[in-house]
Amino acid sequence: MRLAAAALAGAFLTAPVAAAPARVVSIHLCADELVMALADPGQIASLSWHAADPAQSYLAERAVGLPENFGGAEEVIALKPDLVLAGAYSGRETKTLLRRLGVKVLDLDLPRSFADIRRQTMAAAEALGHPERGRTLVAEMDAKLAAAARKVAGLPPASAILYQPGGVTMGKGFLEDEILRQAGLGNVATTLGIEGQGSVSIETLIAARPDLIIFGVEPDAPPSLSARMLSNRVLVRATRARPVTLPPILWTCGAWFTAEAVDRLANARVALAKAP
């Protein structure tokens, strides 16, 4: 009797919170990356069609060969998923329809801070049945953030702006703002009063005299008129700012690897301090 009770208690203790889903489908790039990092390869039934694109997906090489989907409800249902991961601002109708059909849908919001990233990583890890992997990923990210913080500790304040094609920049309340702050940089966009997404003209930027201009472009992005604005030499010469490039792949989907963006900016901040 006592043995049975112990066995029962043991069973309760070792039983996972919920059974790990056997067939996971992701219909959003940002969810793809978390699924690839957290799930067993055998759990992944399908990833979104962006997952294997090295220009957009941080773990593109891991997605090669995995079935891709284009996010239609019928397509997803045909995969017989236990869990569907989706992202904010896309597939609204599809998510509603899948929920109506009784499919469990985990909707990942756009993270606006590293705290959001921690929360989201853990939510995905628990839903996928691997909370320990979530904790490892978050710990990795926090270690990288702490290392970056040590690099810039004690340096005087410097200002920077993330400048994307078309003069688009991100201010208060967005993840990009915190990336800059964690790297010891004051965000010029926030100082200019921009909340969320905004745009800053070249003249305004020159007048604001940032120490660092962070060009948010992929090194081999297809040419566009608005990207040409970024290669404007006048901009760098007139502001005497130090140019840095930071590939959007590191922060467009805020996730554990966004700490790498902080690290790169911290290095740029250190280089700025050493420059004459």
């Binding site: 284009f70 601002y89 896309s90 109506r100 059909l101 756009l110 969320g196 997404q197």
Partner: protein
């Protein structure tokens, strides 16, 4: 072609296309997939197509101008703006009713504005001009919402929605929008006799006992309801209201009243066919229905214009 033959042709095309639409898809034929995914899509394609075709025919009759289409009186662009606002303020996330309700509020506001600008007793010309004004104003407001969108993802979501699609709509969308489309269409269908009288000119129509002010009011209200509700579930789907009446006019002896019902059926057939094409040709990311109707509709319309010109020589 006789009238019964025309109706028989359109109805059988509708039945065949609807059946094909219900049977074809990647997820096989399980009951839930058909009732929850494909039925809403087919019902909405028929309702949206019928609304666009019918309102196009009615407006062309009212204005006695073959270039008129539902977008002209500003209801469709205003409905788009209403929907864009629902996305912009994040209301779309709270309730499945948010986007349709916002779109219909937009369409309703457009009609009220239209009446303030071109009241009951003004000419058809001022109605068109007011419609164009409301239309461009709504278009500008939509652009403004895109311009000020809180994040690049939100802007993209609005932009994609505006392209028009029937993908993954639910039965909820059917329950919300179809009764309103039906009501709007019913209002428009009551105007057949008056539209026929109007072909003789406004004065002649008046002497035949047609109340022109009431005709305008009925049509504008009906079109706002039908088009507003249609846009609220599908986004903007172009060219249907323009092309369908053109195609069918010759079969009904060029009488606008007799053109109404065939145009509703023809619109339903066209949208259903276009939606089927979208689903069949899209091996990858699904093409947007509104993109396809305009892409196929525009060259087709051009060839129609050219052949008409040749015939007139």
């Amino acid at each position: 072609m006789s009238r019964p033959a025309l109706y028989a042709g359109l109805l059988s095309a509708l039945v065949v296309l609807a059946a094909a639409s219900l049977l074809i898809g990647p997820a096989g034929l399980s009951g839930l997939v058909v009732t929850e995914i494909r039925v809403p899509r087919v019902v909405l394609a028929i309702a949206v197509g019928a609304s666009l075709g019918l309102t196009g025919a009615a407006l062309q009759g009212l204005l006695r101008n073959p270039l008129a289409e539902p977008g002209l009186i500003g209801a469709a662009p205003a409905a788009s703006f209403g929907a864009a606002l629902a996305f912009y303020f994040g209301l779309a996330g709270y309730s499945p009713f948010a986007v349709p309700l916002a779109a219909m509020t937009g369409a309703g506001t457009a009609v009220v504005l239209l009446y303030a600008l071109a009241g009951r007793d003004s000419s058809m010309l001022s109605l068109v001009l007011a419609g164009v004004a409301v239309s461009s104003f709504a278009g500008a407001l939509t652009a403004l919402a895109l311009n000020l969108a809180p994040s690049p993802f939100a802007a993209l979501e609005i932009a994609f929605w505006l392209l028009g699609s029937l993908a993954d709509r639910t039965l909820t969308d059917v329950y919300v929008a179809v009764p309103l489309m039906a009501l709007g269409c019913a209002l428009v269908l009551t105007t057949g006799r008056a539209l026929d009288a109007l072909t003789l000119g406004e004065d002649a129509a008046r002497s035949l006992g047609v109340d022109l002010g009431r005709l305008r009011l009925t049509l504008v209200a009906g079109i706002a309801l039908a088009v507003g509700a249609a846009v609220s579930v599908s986004g903007a789907i172009g060219f249907v209201g323009l092309v369908v009446p053109h195609l069918l006019r010759r079969f009904v002896g060029y009488q606008p009243g007799r053109l109404l019902m065939p145009s509703a059926l023809g619109g339903a057939v066209l949208v259903l066919a276009a939606d089927l094409v979208v689903r069949l040709v899209s091996t990858g990311i699904e093409l947007k229905l509104g993109v396809v109707t305009a892409l196929v509709g525009a060259p087709f319309f051009l060839s129609l214009v050219l052949s008409t010109r040749r015939a007139m020589r």
